[in-house]
């Protein structure tokens, strides 16, 4: 009982609320599905939405917690997705159990994405501000280009690879894993909503445990004041690298879930627009605010679907709503009202007039 109580104290409170909300939503959705109350349209969105929530949480780790703008996170999702496809196809014969195969794919996909994250972080973290952002954009484009030009096949004699032009020749029974711009086709759809939620809950636990540890504190200190952080002995590059690599790995896991949910997957799907979309989810949910990210991503991914009745006008309305939300939430008058209403965390006298 004490342990349950402790789960809701202080720092652990946010973690428990997030996990609680997710589990509650999961139960409700499962019940609704069981009673047949959910439209198939919605059911088909369950895995994608959960995947996007996981990527958005990963991005929040970089943008919100670490304070760096990343414009290429779709690239890590892409690496995860196509790695997942490769692993799932290759292990199909000796791991017949779908769930087990998915787990293996997720683990390998996350590790591969994390490795790329590490390699990319080396040049990226040598830069600052907008220049750092531009390099993440560049890497996102490079990853997309690389996969777009990859021809990877698998048959009884192993892997066959060619670059830019398709020179892959497969024996009978072989399969084309990545077919250049066409990407992956005929993938076994082994992602499930349950597994996606499991990964989401694990992601939340990992992220919150990270933030509440010395690693998280170092990253946030570096974000708040670089020079002061150095003055208390924090190695800036090492700290930011850890956050970036962790984020890449989580995004990769999300990518696996996403990629194994569709029978066809093109590399062009994970482009700059996708990276920007995820960024919008994160900013709207609040930088560093994990619960906010979950809610904002869920709403923003589902919104275009809910607005289907508006037909051609729905993306236009979406855009207008986005602009209005940004203007309203940054309006000084409204912010003052909010400050007065939520007057917690205030100590006596607020003279920040240095």
């Amino acid at each position: 009982m004490n342990k349950l109580k402790a789960a809701f104290l202080g720092k652990n409170k946010n973690r428990s609320i997030c996990v609680g909300v997710v589990l509650l939503a999961y139960i409700i959705i499962e019940v609704l599905m069981y009673t047949g109350s959910l439209k198939s349209l919605f059911i088909n969105l369950l895995v994608p939405v959960t995947s996007y929530i996981i990527v958005a949480l990963a991005l929040n780790l970089v943008v919100g917690v670490s304070g760096e703008l990343s414009l290429g996170h779709a690239g890590f999702m892409s690496i995860g997705a196509f790695t997942g496809v490769i692993v799932a196809n290759v292990t199909a014969t000796f791991i017949p159990n779908d769930v087990l195969r998915l787990i293996v794919a997720i683990i390998i996909g996350a590790i591969v994405a994390a490795i790329f994250g590490f390699l990319i972080s080396i040049p990226v973290l040598k830069l600052q501000g907008d220049y750092l952002a531009i390099v993440t954009l560049a890497f996102g484009q490079i990853i997309k280009s690389l996969i777009n030009n990859t021809f990877l096949g698998y048959d009884a004699s192993g892997f066959h690879f060619s670059f830019i032009t398709n020179k892959v020749q497969l024996a009978s029974g072989g399969k084309m894993l990545i077919n250049g711009p066409i990407g992956a086709t005929a993938t076994d759809r082994i992602s499930t909503f349950t597994m996606a939620v499991v990964v989401l809950v694990l992601t939340l636990l990992i992220i919150f445990n990270f933030m509440n540890s010395k690693y998280g504190r170092s990253v946030m200190a570096t974000r708040d004041d670089r020079i002061a952080a150095q003055s208390v002995g924090i190695n800036i590059v090492k700290t930011k690298t850890i956050a970036f690599v962790l984020s890449a790995g989580i995004a990769g896991a999300a990518g696996v879930l996403y990629g194994l949910n569709f029978s066809t997957l093109v590399p062009a799907k994970f482009d700059f627009n996708q990276s920007i979309l995820i960024l919008v989810y994160v900013v709207l949910g609040g930088l560093g605010n994990m619960l906010g990210t979950i809610i904002s991503t869920a709403i923003l991914v589902l919104l275009p679907e809910l607005l289907r009745f508006l037909a051609d006008y729905r993306m236009l309305i979406y855009a207008i709503v986005l602009i209005i939300i940004m203007i309203v939430t940054n309006n000084p008058t409204i912010n003052n009202i909010i400050k007065k209403v939520f007057k917690k965390n205030r100590t006596e006298g607020d003279h920040n007039d240095v």
């Binding site: 990270f210 002061a228 208390v232 002995g233 007039d353």
Partner: protein, 262 residues
């Protein structure tokens, strides 16, 4: 030259920014556990010297010795690990973090656990965190900040923010603490309190303190030795009495006796 252990010694330290010589021929000999003052008009180069000592800037010439060790070519992070900690002229707290987290950041070095242990919150991590938590709370108690432990640093009133910055600097267990205008913006009561706090800090943490200040009551009250800086060069060095009565110092900076009571 005494054989006493010198916590800080510089050898003709100097820095040029392009064509401008900001500091030149800066020499200091600070004894262990001394409270040493660095004073001078605005723009004299006092903060620049702090930046040199903490390697935020690289000196153009000269050497720096911390407790006998040459730290001239070390990085800011290395210098902190070797034992120098500082506060800043324009408070640099981790604004979005809580008061206690600001201090915990300084305590990271004391408990080691891996990233894996952290993200899985294994018992080893849990134990380490409890230890850090306790150390952080006790440090906050020294500065009467414990009741604000969970408040956001940016919401603290000004005087308490300054104290928090000192607490954070002490968290890294420095040998030498550099305080940059710790009394700036404080009223006379707060200044008197700060003077006591600094003396307690020196005793409790066995730390040598070098401070920059404009408030002469504080400087003359607690400093055992003072260096006066003007236009980037040392104007005079001595005990508070010697400095108070040095005609050059009076002309350049202090003014007459009546003006000093400010």
């Amino acid at each position: 030259m005494s054989n006493e252990r010198l916590i800080l010694k510089t050898d003709n330290l100097g820095i040029d920014f392009g064509g401008l010589t900001a500091v030149n021929n800066f020499n200091i000999e600070m004894k262990v556990n001394e409270i040493y003052g660095l004073i001078g008009p605005n723009g004299a180069g006092k903060t620049t010297i702090f930046n040199l000592l903490t390697k935020v800037y690289n000196p153009t010439r000269g050497q720096i010795y911390l407790d006998g060790q040459d730290i001239t070519n070390e990085s800011t992070v290395a210098v902190n690990k070797l034992g120098i900690s500082r506060t800043f002229q324009n408070i640099r707290l981790f604004k979005e973090m809580t008061v206690i987290d600001n201090v915990k950041v300084g305590l990271e070095y004391s408990q080691k656990y891996s990233l894996l242990e952290a993200v899985l919150h294994l018992p080893s991590c849990h134990k380490a965190e409890l230890a850090i938590d306790e150390m952080a709370h006790s440090l906050l108690r020294v500065f009467d900040l414990d009741e604000f432990a969970d408040a956001k640093a940016k919401n603290l009133p000004y005087g308490k923010q300054r104290k928090l910055e000192i607490a954070r600097a002490l968290a890294t267990s420095p040998k030498l603490l550099l305080l940059d205008e710790p009394a700036a913006g404080m009223n006379p009561y707060e200044t008197k309190e700060l003077m006591e706090t600094i003396k307690i800090v020196r005793e409790k943490f066995s730390v040598s303190i070098l401070l920059i200040e404009h408030d002469m009551k504080l400087v003359m009250g607690i400093c055992e030795k003072i260096t006066v800086l003007n236009f980037g060069q040392v104007l005079a060095t001595g005990t508070p009495d010697e400095i108070k009565n040095n005609p050059e110092v009076i002309a350049a900076y202090l003014g007459s006796d009546e003006e000093q009571e400010g």
